[in-house]
């Protein structure tokens, strides 16, 4: 328990230890810790960013999907409309065609009827003439009575 040179020895030895600690021991440990701190901070940052990106991408995807759905719906609607129109058009055309066919058929029929009538009329006048010849027993001068005969034919 004497006070002696141990005191000086401890000052010197301790100073050397502090120097060693400050030069060789402390810096690498501190550097490693700070580097890790930085790494973790960066990791957290990028995780945040990734999360945000994901959110954004999800949003974008939802928007795209919505758009696609809308487009599909509009295309479908247009197609439906177009189909209906085509059907309508076809219907109209068919009706028209039908009408036209019917009309032409009617016209044909009428023509036939008229022709038949004309023929009939001619025949009738002939028949009438022959009948009258027979009745009168004489020849009717066709030329003489043609006016009368025509009148008769027209009445028939």
């Amino acid at each position: 328990m004497n006070f002696n040179a141990t005191f000086i020895g401890q000052i010197v030895v301790f100073a050397i230890f502090v120097w060693i600690c400050a030069k060789f021991v402390w810096p690498p440990i501190m550097e490693a810790m700070q580097a890790r701190q930085k790494k973790i901070a960066e990791g957290l940052d990028s995780a945040d960013k990734a999360e945000k990106d994901l959110e954004l991408a999800k949003h974008e995807a939802a928007k795209k999907l919505q758009e696609a759905k809308q487009e599909a719906a509009s295309i479908l609607e247009q197609a439906n409309k177009r189909a209906a129109q085509i059907v309508d058009d076809a219907k109209g055309e068919a009706q028209e065609e039908g009408k036209r066919i019917v009309a032409s058929a009617q016209a044909e029929v009428e023509k036939e009827v008229n022709a038949a009538r004309e023929e009939l009329r001619g025949r009738i006048s002939e028949l009438t003439l022959a009948g009258a010849e027979k009745i009168l027993g004489s020849e009717v001068d066709a030329k003489k009575h043609s006016e009368l005969l025509d009148k008769l034919a027209a009445e028939l």
Binding site: N4, V13, V18, C21, A22, F24, W26, A32, A35
Partner: protein
């Protein structure tokens, strides 16, 4: 453990445990262990307490110095090896342990010391490790290492460096030198001015102020060194007294065992506490040295 077998009485046992292994200069004419007188001054390892007491200032406590240096050296070696291959990835095992301590010291420094000085934290770490490991030696049963070494021919051995005031005051004085260094480095002549003009800011009071401030300044290393010494010396003393009981019959020995365990458990609190106080005060003193008042 302890037995009074080798000692004449309890007082000698205690005295023996409080004597350092000393290497020093014995002046001519001092008494030697065998009763003869030394003819010319020599440097030697003291063989008995008479020789120890005969040595003047030029003597070294080999045990205190070697234990102190070995413990601090081991700490540095361990931390250096871990730090050298420290990974910036996920730390494991020893690196975790080392980083916890470094982090702890660093946060203490950041709390108290607000300047930018990369030396303060390593100083604090070294001080803390030195104080903690030195104190920790007090847990080892008082006779274990000294008795083993005595069987090997080493007469004296004190294994707790912090029970040696030379060691604690040495460390405290080192801190004191750092305080002076940083005070002058940061404040220059302002430091002298600070000493001269506080607490009374008038030139008439300069001598009074100087006296007051210098006493205050010198009290810092003294209180720093003596606080840890006092605590550890008292604790060591109690361990020695408890160890004495082992020579007093089976019942007293058992009682002594119980006492030793309880005192050791209590001492586990004192060991880190004193190391912590030493470290924090070191940081505070160095912080004051950096600040203008």
């Amino acid at each position: 453990m302890a037995s009074e077998g080798g000692y004449a009485n309890a007082s000698e046992y205690i005295q023996h445990h409080l004597t350092n292994l000393t290497y020093g200069k014995l002046e001519a004419g001092s008494a030697l262990c065998d009763g003869s007188t030394l003819e010319q001054a020599t440097w030697k390892v003291a063989k008995c307490s008479d020789e120890v007491n005969g040595m003047g200032f030029w003597a070294f406590h080999l045990d205190s110095m070697i234990w102190s240096a070995a413990l601090t050296g081991l700490f540095l070696l361990f931390f250096w090896r871990i730090g050298r291959k420290a990974t910036t990835g996920v730390p494991t095992g020893a690196q975790n342990f080392v980083e916890t301590i470094v982090e702890f010291v660093d946060s203490q420094v950041k709390d108290v010391f607000h300047g930018r000085n990369p030396w303060i934290a390593p100083i604090a770490l070294t001080v803390f490790a030195w104080a903690f490991l030195s104190n920790l030696m007090d847990i080892i049963p008082v006779d274990l290492i000294p008795y083993t070494l005595e069987l090997m021919g080493v007469k004296f051995q004190k294994i707790v460096p912090t029970t040696d005031p030379n060691i604690t005051l040495g460390t405290a004085t080192f801190v004191f030198f750092l305080m002076l260094y940083y005070s002058f480095k940061v404040k220059g002549m302002g430091f002298i001015k600070e000493l001269s003009f506080t607490p009374f800011n008038h030139w008439v009071f300069i001598p009074f102020n100087l006296f007051l401030e210098l006493v205050g300044l010198l009290a810092k290393p003294f209180s720093l060194g003596l606080r840890i010494f006092g605590n550890l010396y008292a604790a060591e003393m109690i361990f020695i007294l408890i160890a004495l009981m082992f020579g007093g019959g089976i019942l007293i020995a058992i009682f002594g065992g119980v006492l030793q365990i309880s005192w050791a458990i209590f001492h586990i609190l004192v060991i880190p506490l004193q190391a912590f106080i030493f470290m924090v005060l070191t940081i505070v003193y160095l912080s004051q040295a950096h600040e203008d008042h």
